[in-house]
Symmetry: C2
Subunit: 191 residues, 2 copies
């Protein structure tokens, strides 16, 4: 992990689309967490990442200090990673980094998560996927409606980079707000 | 933990208020999870418990089978345990069991969670606390607004049982829906 104080200088990274991501140098998860922290502090929205689901098998209570978990396993998530509230609306999304140069494989999102996006949409959520395409050095906002319509109508196993560029919206970034997805929501939903 | 097949017969437990909880015999968390599962299957609402937050320190990738976490610690939650969407509304709540006979100690709810309830209320959430008072053998729905107003205005360290009975609404239960809190929400918010 690269922390801010290790990040590269402003001039080092410029994408082929002219947007510099040099402000980041962090993982998408770190950028979203930092953004969410800012939204919370500035009283804009309350959106949190859910903890990583683990199945706890053995716990050691013997220690006087903190209870120690000595055996646990990662569990498949049954929902997306992020949810919360913004201007009275329920917000729900998944975020994925993608190092492929030409596509985003559906396999990066669990079936449960895709089903979950459909479920929350049915109940009136603002739902989406954030995809960081390293080839473009950009974060794309993909409406869950668009993603699901394509996913349900194709035999393909991925989104093509062209599809993402055409259907996704580029999320702005700055040092202060590294992944400012609420900006897209404001415009999309006229909030 | 008592599982359904170990539960007592219908006639064994009757509360002093005449409502039998013999249908349950499960923890509040299990009852709420079962209720949420039903809400999801019946396409009524999408509400999930968040995973227990843990700090993972050591992971053993050596095994060919599942990646094993060999050292981890429980972490204080920064939000409530449950959230989701119902009829387009953002729902957020915490659930607590209480074995005290005369009161509910504020210490059972973390400061972060109380702050979180205030935060989501500020953005238009339907927020509340479910308290299972074993002395009454009942689950009470306490509006977050009522809880916070009292919490912020008192020097006391707890809710009295009288306060809970007066301000809380009793949540109905049945074998099928062991903690039917959406029923209260429908009435409270005229949904």
């Amino acid at each position: 992990m690269n922390y801010p104080n290790k990040k590269k200088s402003s001039s080092e990274i410029v994408t082929n689309h002219g947007i510099s991501h040099s402000n980041r140098g962090m993982s998408l998860e770190e950028d979203i967490n930092k953004t969410n922290d800012l939204y919370l502090i500035d009283n804009i929205a309350v959106i949190h990442k859910k903890p990583t689901p683990v199945t706890i098998v053995k716990v050691d209570y013997a220690k006087r200090s903190a209870t120690k978990i000595t055996e646990a396993y990662f569990k498949q998530p049954s929902t997306t990673d992020y949810n919360g509230i913004y201007k009275g609306k329920y917000i729900d999304f998944e975020a994925k980094e993608c190092h492929h140069k030409t596509l985003f494989p559906f396999a990066l999102i669990h079936d449960h998560q895709i089903k979950h996006l459909q479920n929350v949409l049915n109940h009136g959520a603002i739902a989406f996927i954030i995809i960081r395409m390293y080839v473009d050095n950009k974060d794309y906002y993909i409406k869950a409606e668009d993603f699901l319509a394509y996913y349900n109508s194709t035999d393909k196993k991925s989104l093509s980079l062209e599809w993402i560029r055409e259907n996704g919206k580029v999320i702005s970034n700055s040092y202060k707000i590294p992944c400012h997805y609420l900006d897209i929501i404001d415009k999309e939903y006229k909030l």
